[in-house]
């Protein structure tokens, strides 16, 4: 036994690559369940940081969040009543593990703070649902119920800023559906199957299916007197809204998301729709619109956007960006979609310190980067951490992704007209809309962003059940060839892990890296493993 090497590995952790002795991350897991035989030893300092400041810290603060935001009794009732919370959110620390595997130093710290913010916001939302839920309170419509509004998860939370502090907006599907897929991919399958069991064919977008299935299985808390729906990014979701209207059975306002949104006349129409929504909220809740509150919240949101631009500057122009692909993607989409909230500012402050440290001390948090990757189109929700695997296995460093770039704007607050115009723009650049099904011009914004972020490779997502994107597969292939861009495809069915398994996604990337790029893996233990039963 080489004592010197053992001591070095104890203090610094084993080196990444096979040539240097290798940490062999694939060997840490049990077959199929992918549970750890033991968690990763990242070196003394990083292991202690992970233990105290990520694992223990988050367990403690999750309990604290639950107690402060609605209480343990409401939480326990909610867990007992709703599958999506009980089955999904208890193993949340393993969501951290999957996203942060192999990360060291500043990358581990900065990415973990992003996860912490998402956990806190998730708890806040489901605790509000449970605290207001008539089903958990003997049918009583309490004060919280009367001051909560439900809305589709792709309706930007910012449209409710004028009632900040008086009406709390809680998306219908963000927590029961969207976040569950990332944390525990098993839960959502119940809802997809439920909606198909009432006759819906299996080929529409599984996101719409799952969102409807939650209602079919009667698994939606009754937490608000009114609801705002929309057609999400595509018109398949119109039927989701219809089912929601049927099963939720509440006064409903439908806020359309125009398909062709570059037309100034469409923007005018959209501005008017937002104003109509405000009128609807005033009528339903009897609380007047507040311009001052709207401006205050928008300014705060703009502050978040300005920091994001600083982050992008570092990501695009240096190797010192300390946030990994999955943390970047999920935090950003969560923040921009849900809208301004205190936790984002707290997190950004912490991340800014880490970012500044990385820049000033020239710390490269991803030293094994072989390719700087931009991920385009919509990601597989059940395998959002594929980019962590791709870095560990192949040195593919996902610098930025499409979901982070959709809301690349601040909102003017100098006049009512400007504000409304920008809000309409923001609303129309909805998730999956602007760059996934928003027309050729926007889909091909890829080339500009690729240059801006100094990327040399594209991870092209292919949502197999998205009819909007399917037709463009060939066009992208042609462009990749013409522009001599290395690109690999990641087929998936958004939340449904049964259509294209995680193992299949890894196999396709492995094939590309060996047959096209002729490269050797950094960590061969990650090439092929069975995680078919994992969360």
């Amino acid at each position: 036994m080489d004592i010197k090497k053992a001591l070095k590995d104890f203090w610094y952790g084993k080196p990444h690559t096979a040539e240097e002795g290798g940490r062999r991350l694939g060997d840490l897991h049990e077959d199929k369940t992918h549970l750890y035989k033991h968690r990763e030893w990242r070196g003394f300092k990083d292991t202690m940081y992970y233990f105290y400041m990520i694992w223990l810290y988050n367990y403690i603060f999750m309990v604290k969040d639950v107690m402060v935001m609605g209480g343990l009794v409401n939480f326990a009732k909610g867990v007992w009543r709703y599958r999506w919370v009980g089955q999904t959110y208890l193993p949340v620390l393993h969501w951290f593990d999957r996203g942060l595997e192999g990360m060291r130093g500043e990358a581990m710290k900065a990415s973990a703070w992003h996860y912490r913010a998402m956990v806190s916001t998730t708890i806040r939302q489901f605790q509000r649902m449970f605290a207001a839920d008539t089903r958990l309170h003997g049918g009583k419509q309490n004060d919280l119920y009367k001051h909560t509004i439900a809305h589709n998860e792709t309706v930007w939370g910012g449209v409710f800023y004028p009632w900040d502090g008086e009406i709390q907006n809680v998306p219908l599907e963000m927590i029961p559906y969207f976040v569950t897929c990332h944390v525990n991919s098993h839960t959502v399958l119940n809802y997809i199957d439920a909606v198909q069991s009432i006759g819906l064919p299996g080929d529409p977008c599984p996101m719409c299916q799952a969102e409807s299935g939650i209602f079919v299985l009667d698994d939606v808390p009754d937490y608000a007197p009114a609801v705002v729906t929309c057609n999400e990014a595509c018109d398949a979701s119109v039927s989701t809204s219809t089912l929601q209207d049927w099963f939720f059975d509440k006064p409903l306002f439908s806020l359309p998301m125009p398909m062709i949104f570059d037309d100034p006349l469409v923007k005018k129409y959209c501005m008017r729709e937002i104003e109509e929504l405000w009128k609807f909220v005033e009528q339903q809740y009897g609380i007047p619109f507040s311009w001052e509150k709207l401006v205050k919240k928008l300014e705060q949101q703009n502050e978040l956007q300005r920091f994001e631009w600083e982050k992008w500057e570092v990501a695009g122009k240096s190797d010192y960006y300390p946030i990994n692909g999955v943390a970047q993607a999920l935090y950003r989409i969560y923040q921009t979609q849900y809208g301004d909230w205190e936790i984002w500012h707290v997190t950004d402050k912490k991340v800014r310190k880490i970012l500044e440290k990385c820049v000033s001390k020239k710390i490269n948090s991803f030293p094994q980067t072989r390719h700087r990757v931009i991920a385009w189109s919509c990601a597989p929700l059940y395998y959002s951490n594929w980019c962590t695997w791709a870095y560990n296995c192949w040195g593919l460093n996902v610098i930025i992704n499409m979901d982070s770039l959709m809301f690349d704007m601040t909102i003017r607050t100098d006049s009512y007209e400007h504000t409304l115009e920008d809000m309409a723009q923001y609303h129309m650049w909805a998730p999956m809309r602007r760059m996934a099904v928003g027309g050729m011009r926007h889909m091909f914004e890829l080339w500009e962003y690729m240059e801006k972020f100094n990327c040399d490779m594209v991870a092209m997502y292919d949502q197999l059940q998205c009819k909007g994107v399917q037709g463009l597969h060939g066009l992208f292939e042609d462009e990749f060839r013409d522009r001599n861009i290395h690109a690999f495809w990641v087929p998936h069915a958004l939340p449904d892990s049964r259509t294209v398994s995680r193992a299949e996604i890894r196999r396709l990337i492995n094939d590309y890296m060996t047959t096209v790029m002729h490269e050797e893996p950094l960590d061969p233990s990650l090439l092929d493993f069975d995680d078919s039963m994992t969360w």
Binding site: Y36, W80, Q87, W246, P251, F280
Partner: protein
């Protein structure tokens, strides 16, 4: 040894044992094993056997709420 010293030693001893115990739970993924093998199957069984309302029997009364009028 003074009373405070004894208390301090006891406190440090408990803290040390607690830290070692928690670290073992962390390092050997005991939380994951418990959640995967015990908690989740138990809860799934509970959810699978819950009585649920047949939502399809909810009448779809689209005229239940007053018609919404747009400003012209």
């Amino acid at each position: 040894m003074c009373k405070f010293g004894k208390f301090l030693l006891k406190f440090l001893g408990i803290a040390l044992v607690l830290n070692i115990g928690l670290f073992c739970a962390f390092f050997f993924d005991l939380d994951g094993k418990l959640l995967f093998n015990v908690v989740e199957p138990f809860l799934k069984d509970h959810y699978d056997n819950m009585e649920r309302k047949d939502t399809l029997k909810t009448p779809y009364d689209i005229h239940k709420f007053p018609k919404y009028d747009y400003d012209s």
